[in-house]
Every structure is written in structure tokens, then in C-alpha cells.
Symmetry: C2
Subunit: 237 residues, 2 copies
């Protein structure tokens, strides 16, 4: 694997800084296609909405969010990506969202022209896009139809492996029923993801704490005391 200078955004805020890279997991989706890995610091911008779309990205390690802004400053975080997810496919010739790292992140980059050519890559993309689409569908339900408590509960449950939507096995009422989370998002970022305000997120979290469902070790670090109870609060069971 080779390493790459990061794309300078059209807006040139210079927030995207690449630090010496680290060898990441070998079996990425792009590794066979000569993708280059760049390491981004936490809170750096990979690209801006409206930038000319030149590269396709795969998140290899860490966490990245995609968001859109309305002209008056309202923001909606449309996806929170996990390793294996791809981003940067715009459909047009501009990126439709801004991509910003939430944590330090390793990102594999590949030229869009190359994507056109490779059949294997296309196959991989279909799979990734289908999955991300399913997540977007579920998120639409959250944004359109769920209460504040249900949104926060769903958000937490999504961070519990095997639970919280998609392949969620539903609440169990025995055995191990606690879990430790690191959110890697500020209250503002969570609010913008869940379509709420910072204050509402804070209030819901405080309420869950008061009711003993969670313990807040740091704003960022949440211990779920009762995964089942929380699961029941998502509106999905």
C-alpha cells in the first residue's frame, strides 16, 4: 500500500491534515485495487459538499460522518460511517455531503475513473451501497416517526453489536444485559444526527441516567445498565 497526500478542499480550510500513516487491516474492500491509505486526525474534513468528486473512499479504521447544511446553518448528519463503509460516490460531479472524521481515521482512497473500470469494484460497491441504503431507510423512520427518547435509545442500541435494528435479535430478558459505549460524538453532533437539539439530547440522556437505564462515565462514554430496557425504548419492539 502506498500513502497519499490528502485532497485540499476547494474551501481550503486546511483542517484535513495527514499524519504519518499506520498499517491498517489488510482485508479492505479496496486493497486489491491499489487503493492508497491516508490517515486523518479527528475532526478533519475529507471533502466538502460541492467539491468536485474525484475519489471514492473506504473507511478502514475510525469513524466518519457525512452531513449537509442548509443555507441558514441548520445541519443534518446523514450518515455515521463505520469501517467497511464507502463514501464519496456522488452520482453527479460534486460531492453531495461534507465528510468529516469523528475520530482519527484511516481512509483508503481510489480514483473514481478507476472505479468505472473495475468489475470487481462495482460488485463490492453494490454490496456496500445496498447496506448503507438499508441504514438510511431505518434512519428515515427514526427522523420521521420517532420521539426524542426513541431516537436516543435507537442511537445507543445501534452501537451495541447484534442489536438495535437491521439484524437486531430483540430484547432478551436474561444473561449479560449491560454494555459499554464510546460515542465519539459531541452532543451537537448527536443532535444533528437525530434531528433534535443539543438540549433535548442532554435532557433525554439525563433522564435515562435518572431512571437507571444508563450510567454516564464521561459525556462521551456511556454504560448501558439495562440493554433490554433500552431496546424496548427504541419503538421497534
Amino acid at each position: 500500500m502506498a500513502y497519499l497526500e490528502v485532497a485540499t478542499s476547494a474551501h481550503g480550510a486546511g483542517m484535513a491534515r495527514v499524519t504519518p500513516p499506520v498499517c491498517a487491516s489488510d482485508k479492505t474492500n479496496f486493497s486489491e485495487f491499489g487503493g492508497k491509505i491516508a490517515r486523518y486526525e479527528a475532526h478533519s474534513l475529507v471533502y466538502y459538499e460541492g467539491d468536485p468528486a474525484r475519489r471514492l473512499y473506504e473507511l478502514v479504521k475510525g469513524s466518519v460522518m457525512l452531513y449537509k447544511l442548509l443555507p441558514d446553518g441548520r445541519r443534518q448528519v446523514v450518515e455515521v460511517l463505520r469501517p467497511g463503509d464507502i463514501f464519496g460516490l456522488a452520482g453527479g460531479d460534486e460531492y453531495d455531503c461534507t465528510a468529516e472524521t469523528l475520530t482519527e481515521a484511516d481512509v483508503q482512497e481510489i480514483d473514481l475513473r478507476q472505479v468505472e473500470r473495475s468489475d470487481d469494484l462495482q460488485r463490492t460497491l453494490t454490496k456496500c451501497l445496498t447496506n448503507q441504503m438499508r441504514v438510511l431507510h431505518e434512519h428515515a423512520v427514526l427522523l420521521g416517526r420517532k420521539s426524542a427518547v426513541e431516537r436516543v435509545a435507537s442511537f445507543f442500541m445501534h452501537l451495541v453489536p447484534e442489536r438495535g435494528g437491521l439484524g437486531c435479535v430483540g430484547p432478551r430478558d436474561e444473561g449479560e444485559d449491560s454494555f459499554d459505549l464510546q460515542l465519539h460524538m459531541t452532543r451537537q453532533e448527536i443532535a444533528d444526527y437525530l434531528g433534535l437539539t443539543i438540549e433535548t439530547v442532554s435532557r433525554v440522556v439525563s433522564d435515562l441516567k435518572r431512571r437507571g437505564v444508563i450510567r454516564v462515565d464521561k459525556a462521551d462514554r456511556i454504560h448501558l445498565n439495562k440493554v433490554c430496557t433500552l431496546c424496548h425504548m427504541t419503538g421497534m419492539h
Copy 2:
């Protein structure tokens, strides 16, 4: 092109009835892959959320919506499809949404196993999925951050070619500034798409009428008197 018996849903409601087919446009995405066209009546179900995913569909003519239900009956319409859009790619082995026609619709169907095999098809899929993903991103902004008026205005503007998001050229202040729409959706369907209630949709529409921005010829048929004014009400300009 051959014609196909419609899949009987696992839930067997028998709403999906296939009527004698009509020859649709020749240049569909699937036509080269031996896809078979089925004609569905308005308000018939193509498949249910949870049905085993066997086929991939391309909407050739008419309109189809995809929706998800919460156990207590709340519904979110996650996509309203137009000709050229594909649906039925689940990512797992079950459909993640219910697909229901809004109008009489011609749908081209293709076995999922065949999709696996064809490189050309994969290429087509990537393109379609990318576009639909962009629409989903924009819809997330609507659901998470827009007011009721902005949602309805955005909804109407999306039905005006070249306007209302994506390649929207923004408000013009001269020339032809009116447009005729047929919604093909009930107030309930619109509400479930926009994350509102039936009453709120009705009130917003009445208000737009009162303000002279639109004329309501039939609940279903809306004449936009001032496309520019409406465009300004979407929150995007």
C-alpha cells in the same frame, strides 16, 4: 420481453394483481438482461417488508413507494420511486421495506441470482443506487431539519423537472413561473413521506392556497402559481 406472474406475498393479501401487460419503453436498465415486465394496478403491493428477497425490480412506468412500519402502526414512506429507479435490493435475505404502487405501474423484474452474475448489471446498479442514496440524504435533511411548510414546499418542488434539489437551478424571477402537478398520493401518504400528520399537510396546503402560491384543482392535482415563491419556501435558497 416476456410477462410474468406476480409474486404472491408471504402475507398473501392478494392485493397485487397483474393485468394484461402493455409494451413499455424499450430502453430500461434491465431490458438487456431478459427482465420480464409485470403490470401492477394502483395500490397493489409488490412485496412486503420481511418477505424473502428473490427478485430485483426496476420501475419502468408509474410510481411506487417504499415504506416501513413500526409495530404500533406508525409508518414512514422512505422512498417515492420514479421510472428508472430500482428496488428490492435488501442486502440481507429479506426485503427491508414494503413496496406498494401509487399508480398503475410497469415493473421489470429480474432474479437476484442473475444480478450476482452480470457485470453490466452491477454497473447499472451502482449508478442507480448512488442516485437514490443522494435523494435519501436530501430527504434526511427534510425529515430532520425542515419545518412543515418547508417540507411540503420541497415535496412539490421535487415534482417540478429541473427544480427542487439535486440539480435545482434555484429560483428564477422571470419567464414561465407556473407548473401543474399530479401528486398520485393521498394526504396520508404525503404525511407519512414527510414525517407529518394528515392534518398538518392539509393545513399547509390550505395556507399555500390562501396565499395564492398554489391552486388546488383536485386534492391530487395542484397548480403552482408561483414556482419561485414556492422554491424560496423550501429552506434551500
